[in-house]
């Protein structure tokens, strides 16, 4: 098991990513095959197989890396395992066909540090993601894990820790950007016999997976941050409130808590410092509003997760009326590294008012989707075009959405905007928790606004009337516009209700729910007008405004569309031209997708044109 130094040199470490992306691409089968192949060939002392959390470049999953060389194999299939073992492990010759090919240049790149996706990033919070086996507390400790906690508990007073965090300039990564040190200071200042800390891992933003990925890939960093938070404010009990939809994350943090307790980082008299703290995991039950801190606490207490007015702020009166400090996963994962490397180091990264790095889950119509970390102040253009590699199929960029249902969509002329709390707010969106969804010409902005609003409308807890009824009314107007029944004045009505909803709601959900509508109206008003005046959806998305037709000159009669159509709306004999019935068609686009590219016989056309309208 523990070979001497010489053989240690020649040992290869094969890391298999089991983040949600890679896992959905069957990483577990690949891991099984790899384990079996290595065992069959008796290579256990030549290689070490390790499971890692999200390596970041999900788009290329399943991802396998080989250390110490830092080689990067992408889209690895079960069938490739034999070749990796025979050629690379036994023969010493890496499998070139599994290396990454840069789409723009066709250049083959063997090491991940040379791939533009990674080169354009700066890993601070994600420092251990893809490096360590998240289930091993030893590997975390080897990387300097729990050093920050030791320093805090054994060398610093709580006030000094808070001071460090204040100096670092760290702002809450949940989205609102409130200074973390200040929150802790308030928590410290509240007098009470009992205090709580909570890690908010209720990552409900659709299209965002950073917090889940960190919990899976580096759970101890989050724990360490939470223990330090508890020490700083003087709490002896804590909770991790995590989404039920992330089973991997739930398992990962639960295991980390057990291991951490065994090592004496949790429990009574931690590290003989006299400080005691313990915590448990609470699984959310699928309510988006519970990501809001007061709703989250109501939910932990076992009630319907409705928000309550602030003040009192949780640091004065939180869980069961006791002072409670709530921090986001990313905020907490940043704490250990600040303590270890110092506030000055941390505040040297980023901009004047937004320190450190920003983490995004970069998704949508961008080439390189995945988990991304860049210094605050990096431009959107850098993230989307350098790290993200540009738009899929080299289509035209249309918009980027940040901040989830509370955020907004920014157009191409905002691409040079630096990403920080204040710049994004000024442009009408928010930093948010880290969802970044890229959209191209095939995305309809009215449809996107409607999508977010339908989400917040459904998730509105119903307590405040402007939010409950206002979002419903806005949704009705958007549906009217999308169905081709929009009228002059609808846009103004939307804006008017939006302001009422924003001003008349208690919590962040209602206060921000109109943002996607307001920003799309602000930047893409012509698209709304095309829907209203011309009854055209320029992106060809809104179902009522398009129809699918088969171009008879192009149809080869292969029957692919007929077989996939779930509505039996397509008729035609083999080798003859097929026809779509407008009455039966549900416009799911299945036929459009399966029509062989050599024929491309299915066309989307405006429903209200060419039909004698």
């Amino acid at each position: 098991m523990s070979p001497g130094n010489e053989s240690e040199q020649s040992i290869l470490e094969i890391r298999v990513c089991r983040g949600t992306g890679c896992e959905s691409a069957r990483a577990h089968q690949l891991l099984e095959a790899l384990n079996k192949e290595v065992a069959d060939k008796g290579l256990e002392n030549k290689v070490r197989i390790k499971t890692i959390g999200c390596h970041g470049f999900c788009e290329q999953g399943p991802v396998v890396t080989v250390e110490p060389e830092g080689l990067f194999y992408c889209q690895v299939n079960e069938k490739d395992i034999k070749e990796i073992v025979e050629s690379h492990i036994i023969g010493g010759k890496p499998v070139e066909k599994l290396f990454y090919t840069e789409p723009a240049t066709g250049k083959i790149i063997s090491k991940y540090e040379d791939i533009p996706f990674y080169k354009g990033q700066k890993k601070v919070v994600l420092r251990n993601c893809g490096e360590i086996d998240p289930s091993s507390i030893d590997e975390y400790i080897e990387k300097g894990g729990y050093d920050g906690l030791k320093k805090a508990l054994l060398e610093m007073k709580p006030e000094q820790v808070i001071d460090q965090i204040l100096k670092s300039g760290l702002r809450g990564r949940g989205g609102a950007g409130f200074p973390t040190g200040l929150k802790w200071k308030f928590g410290r200042g509240s007098k009470s016999d009992k205090k709580y800390v909570v890690c908010n891992a209720d990552e409900g933003d659709p299209g965002a997976f950073m917090d889940g990925a960190i919990l899976v890939a580096d759970p101890h960093a989050v724990l360490e941050g939470l223990i330090v938070a508890a020490y700083s404010i003087g709490a002896d009990e804590g909770f991790v409130y995590v989404r039920h939809e992330y089973p991997q994350a739930v398992d990962s943090i639960k295991k980390a808590i057990i291991d951490s307790r065994k090592r004496g980082f949790l429990g009574k008299d931690i590290l003989d410092s006299g400080f005691s703290f313990d915590l448990s995991v609470k699984e959310g039950a699928g309510a988006f509003v519970c990501g809001e801190e007061t709703a989250l606490m109501t939910s932990i207490e076992g009630n319907r997760g409705t928000p309550r007015p602030r003040p009192p702020f949780p640091t004065d009166s939180g869980l069961w009326g006791k002072p409670t400090c709530i921090n986001n996963v990313k905020t907490l994962a940043t704490i250990p590294v600040i303590l270890r490397r110092g506030a000055e180091w941390f505040s040297s990264i980023g901009t004047e008012k937004s320190k450190g790095t920003a983490i995004f889950s970069l998704t949508g119509k961008v080439k390189n989707t995945g988990l991304v970390e860049v210094p605050m102040g990096t431009t959107l253009r850098h993230i989307i075009f350098n790290v993200g590699g540009g738009i899929q199929g080299d289509a035209k960029f249309k918009a980027v959405q940040t901040g989830g249902p509370s955020g907004g969509c920014l157009p191409a002329d905002k691409l040079d905007l630096p990403v920080d709390y204040d710049s994004l707010t000024q442009a009408g969106t928010i930093m948010g928790s880290g969802g970044m969804i890229v959209m191209d010409e095939t995305t309809c902005m009215v449809d996107v606004a409607r999508y977010f609003l339908s989400f917040t409308q459904a998730e509105s807890c119903g307590k405040c009337t402007p939010c409950r009824m206002g979002t419903l009314e806005m949704l009705r107007i958007l549906d009217k516009i999308r169905s081709g029944n929009g009228e002059e004045g609808d846009i103004e009505k939307l804006q008017e209700i939006a302001i009422t909803v924003k001003e008349g709601s208690l919590c962040g959900l209602g206060q921000t729910a109109p943002n996607p509508v307001l920003t799309t109206v602000r930047y893409f008003r012509d698209e709304y007008e095309a829907h209203i005046r011309d009854k055209i959806c320029p992106a060809e998305v809104c179902k009522a405004l398009i129809k699918y037709v088969i171009v008879s000159e192009k149809c080869i009669g292969c029957g692919a569309c007929l077989r996939i159509c779930p509505a039996n709306a397509i008729t035609g004999k083999k080798n003859e031209v097929h026809i779509i019935s407008d009455e039966l068609c549900i416009k799911c686009g299945a036929c459009f997708e399966v029509c062989p590219p050599k024929a491309s016989a299915i066309d989307k056309i405006p429903a209200y044109h060419g039909g004698g309208h």
């Binding site: 997976f209 039950a285 069961w320 996939i564 779930p566 686009g589």
Partner: protein
């Protein structure tokens, strides 16, 4: 349970409901009555909490549970069209179960597989980069497996 305060008991509601659903697949009415009695709360209080959260179901799900993700990335990549086609194919709306109890269909807000959108979750297994064709194949393979299982069951009797 006697020594616990009302707050302590209330705190048990959500974890208890989660455990019931984990074991039974849904929250039957009887379970609400049972839990209310156990936690010294009213049935209305328990149901009030349960119905607030999206994760709790009050009807038995089908043999296969298909969830189609409609997170933002999935929506942008055509998740809603997948849902429309599947809904039509199975002949049920999201949230419902087919009359033969084989499939239940649900829309889910985000499963964290955004980078490989659109994603679907069939019986707790996440499938990324789903296309109309791959989803049809997936369901066809489930049908095939089930038929095979039924056959061998019938054969062994």
């Amino acid at each position: 349970m006697q020594d616990l305060s009302r707050a302590d008991l209330a705190e048990q509601v959500i974890p208890s409901l989660q455990e019931i659903q984990e074991r039974l697949g849904y929250i039957p009415r009887e379970a609400i009555i049972w839990l209310a009695d156990k936690l010294h709360l009213s049935e209305q209080e328990i149901y009030g909490v349960a119905s607030f959260y999206n994760n709790f179901r009050f009807t038995l799900p089908g043999k296969h549970h298909l969830r189609i993700c409609l997170g933002t990335a999935c929506h942008v990549q055509g998740g809603d069209r997948l849902l429309a086609a599947t809904s039509e194919k199975l002949g049920i709306k999201p949230g419902d179960t087919t009359p033969d109890k084989r499939y239940s269909l649900e829309r889910v807000a985000c499963v964290g597989c955004c980078a490989l959108a659109p994603a679907v979750v069939l019986d707790d297994v996440v499938h990324g980069r789903t296309t109309q064709r791959s989803l049809k194949r997936l369901l066809d393979s489930v049908d095939r497996e089930d038929r095979k299982a039924k056959k061998s069951e019938g054969g062994s009797q």
